[in-house]
Structure formats: C-alpha cells, structure tokens
Amino acid sequence: MKRLLFLCVLAGCGKAPEPTSQPTSGSPGAPVAQPGEWTWTRSYADGFACAWRSLDGPVTMGPGFAIEVQLAETREGAALDLPAEQVRVDARMPDHRHGMLQAVTVTRIAPGHYRVEGMRLHMVGYWEFHVDVRRGAWTERAAFSLEV
C-alpha cells in the first residue's frame, strides 16, 4: 500500500474571502491537512463557503473513504442548509481527464452538514474534489485540490 501522501490545498483556506465579482481560485502547494480537520474554501462564484474533512482518517490511494462536507453562507456565518439532492460531490483528475470509478452518496446529517460515502481515489496524483450546490436553476461549484 502506498504510503500516505496527502496534501490539501484550497483557495481562501483559513479565512473567508471578501465578496468579489471574481471567483476565488484553487491552487496546489499548500499545507498538509490533518485528518479530521476542516478545510475551507469559497465557491468560484463566491456564493457560499464550503468545508470538508475526512471521516476515515488519512486519505490515501486505494481504499474507499467517507468525508463530511459543510456548507455555509460564510465560514462563520449561517449554515447553508439544503436537501441532499441539491448537493453533489465528485472527485476528478483534471490532468488525466477522468473521475472516480464509482458514484458517491450524499446524506444530510445536520443543518448544512452532509456525509459523503463511497469516495475512492484509484490513482496517485493530483485530484480535485468538486462540491456542486444547486439552488433553483443555478448550480455553483466549490473545489478543493489534493495530491495523493
């Protein structure tokens, strides 16, 4: 089994960015996230804040794992509480132009909190977690970058 190489990198990590007309960015090369620690970002269109954490310890290539996703208006603000059907989570490798080999399930576990099961990263390399939030006709994406 490959040794854990887990980097979590994200835009606006540590503070919610000021409202802007420009989407915030995600870029690699950031501190290593500790298991269980929340990692925050803003959606690209700046419509919501989003965080995730692993529920199964360190994320590695191979084994399946679950994560928890948190949605809020701002990091310290009110929860963005939506039905699970309006929250979609996926992981993709943009360098290779593919995603995971399996679908995930999203379950609402508390206001603005969602348990995502069935995640599995089957290759070593750069991955992006996508959290797509649908409100009405508009679907907006927040993304996290990972290196496993």
Binding site: Q22, P23, S25, G26, P28, S43, Y44, A45, G47, R88, D90, R92, P94, D95, R97, Y126, E128, H130, D132, G136, A137, W138, T139, E140, R141, A143
Partner: protein, 622 residues
Amino acid sequence: MIAPTLLLLASLIATPQDSAEGPSHLGQPLRTQGDLARPTAVAYGPNGALYTVDPDSRRLCGFDEAGELVLSLGMASTVGAAGLHVDAEGRIYVADAWNRAITCLNNEGRALYVIPPGALQRPGGLATHGDELFVADEDAGLVVVFGPDGKQRRVLGAGVLDSPRDVAFDAGGRLGVVDSGLAAVCVFDAEGELVRRFGEWGWFAGLLADPSGIDSDGTRWYVADRENQRVQCFDAEGKALYRTGTHAILPREGGGRLHYPSAVALRADGQRLALAEPMDQRIQIFGPAPGAKPAPDPTRPEAMQPAPHYGPSWSMAGGYLAIPEPESHSVRIYDLRLTPGDDPVRVCELGGFGRDPGLLRDPAGLCLVAGDPLELWIADRGNRRIAWYRLDLSQAAPLAQDFRAPKLVGEFDLVEWFATCPDRMGLTYVPRPVDVQRTEAGETLVLCRANRAVLRFDAKWQLVGVWRGENPAWIEPVAIAWQAPRLAVSDLALGRVHLHDTAAGAQTLLGEGELRRPMGLEFTAAGDLAVVDRYQSELFVLKPDGSVTRHFAPGLGREELYGPSDVAVATDGAWWVLDHGNHRAMVWGADWAWRQAFGSKLYTRPARKPEGEGAKGAPESE
C-alpha cells in the same frame, strides 16, 4: 516493415470477408448518389425508388435503382426538411423542422394535406403504421402521433425521451425511436409502453454517439451513428450485430467510407441500405455482402480518430481560441501566441459527454471573454444550460499545457428556470440555447432556437428582456454577435442577417440576395460584420453602408472553403475562418493574404502548398 504492409494488403483484400456463405449483411458499397447539396433525410418508396430532401438545393428528389432522377420537386428556401417517409401507398411525408410543419404529398408531388405549425416544436423523422403518422419531435422530447386527417391523437415517450430524432417500425409493430440526447434507441410496443432501451454514449461496438437515424428490415434495427461515422445493426433485443461503413479519412472519401452519416433507410425487401451524409453532399447505397461480419480494418481505428474535427462554432479572445471537439463533446482551448508562423497550441480542454456538472452534451455556441480571469461561456444545446468557466491562463506566463486551468464557476439550467420563472416574457417553449454572448454590462445573451429569440439575463440570472426578429420573424437563428449596442443574428432559413440596434430598437436586414445559408458571424473593429455562408462556402463582409464584399470559393485550396461554420476577426485584423467541412481553420491577414491553415493534415496540405503546385487539386493520401 513487411508485416504492417502485409497486414494492410490483407485488410484491403479481405474487407468484407470472402466467404463461402451467401450474403448475410448489408455492407457492400454499391454506388453513390451525388449532385446534392445537403441531403438531410432518405426514404425508400414501395416501388424501390430512393427519395431524399435537400433543403440547401431546395429540392425533393426521387431516384431509381440506377440513380436516374425520377422525381424532382422544388421547395421554398425556408423549408428545413429534416424528415422523410414514404408509406406503402407511395404517399410522401416531409417534416419541416424550421416551420414546424408536416406536408403529405402523393407520388406525383401534389399536396394531400398539411399539419400546420402548432402541434410540433421541431419535427424530424417520421413513420407510418396503420392509418397513423408518428413524428419525432426533438425539442419537445416526444413522439407525436397524428391520424389520417392530420389531427393529433396522442404523444409517446413523455418522461422517457430526451431529443428524439427519428422513428421506424419493425414487422411486429414496435416503434424504434433513436434519441440523440440519450445516445440510445427506445423501443415502444403498440400501446406506447417502453419495452426496451439499448445503447449509451461511446464509441465501442454497441455504443452510440449522436445517433440521428433509424430504420428496420422487419427484425433488425439499423442506426445511423453519426459521430462514430458508421451504421450499426442491432437485433430485436438490442444486441449489436455488425457495423457498416468506416470513417472517411481522405477528404470526400467514399466507397463505403462515411462522413457523419445522419439518416438511414432500408428498402422494403431489405436488400438496400441508403445513408445520407449531408456534410459530404451525397447518399451512399449499400447492398448485401458475404460473411457474418465485416472484418475489422486495422488501418481504421474503431475508437475516436485522432484528427481534429473542429466546430461548428468557436470563439477568440485574449490570445486564445476555444473550439468544440464534436466527437468527445469537449471544448479545446488553444494559445495563439505562436501564430502566425506556427500552429495554435492546445493548452487545455474541458467538458466531455454527460449531464453532470462540468460535462457537456452539445456545446453549440461559445463566448470567450478576455480579462483577468479569462472566461468561457458555453451554450450547451443538449443539456439546455449555460456553463460558465474561468480559465486560469495568462499570456504573460510561459507557454505550457495546463489541464487544471479550467474551473467550472457554475451552470444555469434553462429547463429548471423555465419551470419556475414567474415571468417568461412571452416565451412559449423550454429554451434550447444555441449561442451565447456576454455584454459589457454583465448581461448574458442567450440565443434560443426553440423560441426564436435572444434572452437577456442579468448577473443574477433574472430575465430582463427578450429580443425577437421583426419583419420578418426569425425562423432558424443559429448564431449571434454583439457589439454594443448592436446585436447581429444570422438566420439559416431566411438566408439573411438581422442587425438589431438595441438602443434605437430598430432592425435592419443585411445580405439579402447575397447570403443563402449564413452561419457564424462577428463584428470587426470597424463595425463591419463578417459572416460565413455554409452553402456558398464564402466569407461575406457586410458594411454599414449596405455594401458587401465576398471572399473565397468552395474547395480545398488556399483560397477555398467547404461548408464554413464560423468566423473570428483577430485584433490585428486577420480573418480566421472555421472551415468546418474541411476539418481545418484558415487564416488570412487583414490584407487578405493567406497566412496559414491548421487542423487535419490531409485537409490542410492542399492549402499549405504554394500556389501553382496543385493547391486546388485533388488531395494526396498520406
């Protein structure tokens, strides 16, 4: 290198397989019916005659077995014939997608009745069974059934179908519906219940990519698999039996090589298969061939071919060019900093076929917006939504590929919006976006085919206005260009460009008597309007004073185009033409001096040759 040579020779000799068995499948190319401009549909009559509709040459034609013309009827230039059927009594049914009507003719071409606009949104393929007429309605996502009096009786496929293109019956009275949006065939029983669905998107055997035609020999289904460049034969259970045709590699290559086969027809005796290829202006006819299945051709990959198929639209801004790649349903981003002199460099791509966020089903129109960040807006006709991407690319950074650069900011779902919108401003149908533009004020302009209108959305996706064509109304608007406060709309059916001064509220018509089938268009810095004409294979420059200049001619050479579909004007005044039918892009300087061609080697080579060295001659093989 003897082995590959022998392999190639063996494949040429043994395709289709020689066999002691008699003919068992339809795979032998017999002849090509040419002298057509854009045959969009085919049908066999009970007498064995082959019929086709050709909206660009404005004809309905019939041919006998030898290819001799036995019927020729004129059609109005505004008839967008998209479906054709001949019933057992020889009555001819023509579906007019642009005018949303059906015409039934007798075998001499006299109109028996017309189903007028109102019941259908975008009629395509048709079939009869008993005394009923079944029509695939792509934009409504239904099959609509009419009685012999032309009155609507019922609909099929609600909640099942997405974008049905064609229909056919088997001997058991089951209705096969080919659905390009689902990339599948849905089979309904006589009661209209779905009994089977087969196929999904892909390019391996049994999968489909933009299937658009279907017919039956009674027991088997034949599906025109457009983007896989083949016809697939399925048994009644949906099992793929064999394929007919392989992808044409050489320009206009025939003899069983196919190029976007869009419609298919089986003769009543099951001994002839006709395939319409609108882009290559022809119908190929196949007959019985020996062997259980055509031998795989090692020189022709089954998978997606590597040559670029560009378009049919593109967008240029900020030193970048965005082009859809039809087979993969992705959008490729090219860096232009090495041009002229070298080819554009593909730096990233996005999309791919699908419904999930970030995927595309039919990227019909693009709008690249220069700035920091660079933005790309996509009108996804298949998913009926607008996708907004941020591209983390910079001309100041070293030239490099970066497939992490595209970031999906969000998507606006026009189906959901239409269902919940409190004020639709008179829009009748669920929008089907075909082009998109962004204004300096942050509005998003969406050209909607279904409603024949431009929808104006503000930054919060509130509908703030609707622009429609006036005197006459638009029929088949296909592309828009924006240069504040002017909006230009090209109408494929009317053969004109509407210029709408949105500040003054005045509309004028451009290109009357000059344009036939205008496609993509763009304003120049001087305020002129460049527009390409698919039918005439020319670039037109329309000036505000009403004067028109015309450039280029049909062909493969340096000053030639073949079914161009879009145009861009670079900041240095260079003319960039998306030469869709030639799978290439052509570039001329502001002084009209030829600069370069890029794309498929086989198609760019004739243009790269210096003048006088066969630039207009037949293309060479690799």
